[in-house]
């Protein structure tokens, strides 16, 4: 436990500026959302949701860069020093991951709060359950499906590369993993699509959901746009969340194991 606390402190010293900058950027996005002055309310809502989507994507990229700075650590000699410390590879990987995941949770909860504010600005009625889903439920679902496995994948990528540090062929594992991932991801997505909605879905956004489904049906009537309404637009399948969380655990265990073996 003491080693974990010590490594968390080290991680805070290493990545605290990144985390503070990311969380501070929420103020910039709030300012940006407030600057949207389109006349049409639907247009305003669309532009604001697009801005929130961009904020989410940039946040994921920054977090992945934050956990994946092992190359810089290697140059600075920090990685070699960490390899010689008593904590196991699992603790090192877990600490780095926990710090990034906690930062991600705060950031995406902040974005959920901004989404709530955006819908309020658009005049959509929100009940307490919807607000809770916007600020907590949806951010955690989005985190579990995308950012949590992305961070685990990044950690595996950098530890996988570090296993070839001595032989000097670090670019080959990086290239093979980066090129192979889209194909592996396609198989994964196909598998998830096959099992989606086998378990009961999670209806979200309450009263707002009905309005958005109505809008989606309006879009579906346009012959140029193909929207599947086999399942209502705002019933989330729970299978992708569990599958991606399990995948993140497997990737982290593999990263920790590689660290252990490199250490040995």
């Amino acid at each position: 436990m003491r080693a974990f606390r010590c490594l968390v402190w080290l991680e805070f010293r290493r990545s605290g500026v990144w985390a503070a900058a990311l969380l501070g950027s929420l103020a910039f996005w709030a300012w940006g959302l407030f600057q949207v002055r389109a006349v049409d309310v639907a247009q305003q809502l669309g532009i604001r949701l697009l801005l929130l989507g961009i904020a989410g994507a940039i946040g994921a990229l920054v977090l992945a860069l934050m956990v994946g700075r092992l190359r810089g650590d290697t140059r600075a000699g920090l990685f070699q020093m960490l390899l010689m410390t008593p904590p196991t590879g699992y603790v090192h990987v877990g600490t780095r991951y926990a710090f990034a995941a906690a930062t991600a949770a705060l950031y995406y909860m902040g974005l959920g709060g901004l989404a709530w504010w955006t819908l309020r600005l658009s005049g959509l009625p929100l009940d307490a359950g919807t607000v809770a889903q916007l600020a907590l439920g949806l951010p955690f679902y989005a985190l579990g499906v995308s950012v949590i496995p992305l961070l685990a994948w990044t950690l595996l990528l950098v530890t996988f590369q570090s296993a070839y540090r001595v032989s000097g062929t670090g670019w080959i594992p990086g290239t093979v993993m980066a090129l192979g991932t889209p194909f592996a991801l396609r198989w994964l997505v196909n598998g998830i699509e096959r099992v989606a909605y086998a378990l009961p879905g999670w209806p979200v956004l309450g009263s707002v959901g009905a309005d958005l489904i109505e809008a989606a049906q309006g879009i579906a009537e346009d012959p140029a746009v193909s929207v599947s309404l086999e399942h209502p637009a705002l019933v989330l399948p729970q299978e992708p969340l569990w599958i991606m969380l399990a995948l993140a655990v497997v990737l982290l265990l593999a990263a920790g194991r590689i660290w252990q073996e490199v250490e040995a």
């Binding site: 070839y164 032989s167 062929t169």
Partner: protein, 53 residues
């Protein structure tokens, strides 16, 4: 002509991937890294040999 070009391209891609797979197997002492390398190399090889181009 196009078919022949694609066959040559596939052969070259397989040769490159086989070289990388060999380097990935021999460049480390970590068995987990070897397993990860084998998985992603196999995914790429599968795509090169069985994928639609």
């Amino acid at each position: 002509m196009t078919q022949a070009f694609l066959i040559v391209l596939r052969v070259l891609a397989v040769a490159l991937l086989a070289t990388w797979a060999y380097r990935l197997w021999n460049g480390t002492r970590s068995w987990t890294a070897r397993a990860v390398g084998a998985f992603f190399s196999a995914a790429l090889l599968w795509q090169v040999l069985g994928g639609r181009w």
